[in-house]
């Protein structure tokens, strides 16, 4: 076994295999997809978003600092119509109290 064939078998071929496999691994990992996933403790920097079965259900209230209004179809006629009782600050008031729950993680 000449020195050349020894080098070829024990150095060049393993190196080539390592390079090919690592190149495939790098190509296969979808980094963009992974970075969009939420992980606790990592910053979450997406636009606020509001999911509804029917987007016209949202009134454009006096609160302009809420989620992106375009996403809420604020030009729907419902945003203007509808009897709304308002308090002194202009916020709509419900006749009764609301219930629900809170949690942290």
């Amino acid at each position: 076994m000449s020195v050349l064939s020894t080098v070829l078998i024990f150095v060049i071929i393993p190196l080539a295999a390592v390079l090919i496999i690592s190149a495939l691994a790098m190509a296969g990992s979808d980094r963009k997809q992974r970075s969009r996933r939420y992980r606790p403790g990592r910053p979450y920097d997406f636009q606020p978003i509001w999911f509804l079965a029917a987007p016209e259900q949202v009134n454009a209230g006096p609160d302009r600092t809420g989620p992106d209004r375009r996403a809420l179809h604020r030009h729907e006629p419902h945003a203007i119509e509808g009897p709304v009782i308002e308090d002194s600050s202009g916020a709509p008031v419900l006749p009764g109290p609301t219930g629900g729950a809170s949690d942290r993680w």
């Binding site: 978003i49 079965a53 949202v58 009134n59 419900l94 629900g100 949690d103 993680w105």
Partner: protein, 160 residues
Amino acid sequence: MTAGEIREHTSEQPLTALDAPGGETISAEPEQVTSDAGVAALNGPFTTRQLLRLDEALRMADEQTGLAFSVYLGDLEEPVRQHAEKLHKQLEGSELAVLIAVSPNQRVLEIVTGNEARKRISDRDAKLAALSMAAAFAGGDLAGGVLSGLDQLASHAGRS
């Protein structure tokens, strides 16, 4: 107009996204045929498949219970509970509405039920759903947590 005559489209709305020749195809640039809300959703934390499942879950929950479920995902101002209730008040027919507000940055979630919805979903039931949602969120599963929360709330509310 005779057959074969070529007419310019004068309306604002293009017939297809390919009306301007040489542009990107719809599959390459789905934003062309998606509404603003849709684009905002696509740029969010969910994959298309998760968005479809969420949409389906919201519609099923609404249909079965007669309540109006909605999910808000984003930062809430302090005090968090008051802000969630303010968002809930913006909903049309808010006494029948159930809002799930999730703030991943603050790691807090609020479930707000309206006056009527509260009779169907007791605060205890809401707390139970909140617990399972928080468990899923702590594991990094936003979509799964929202879906399981919706499922629990809808099944507690029962059929209308």
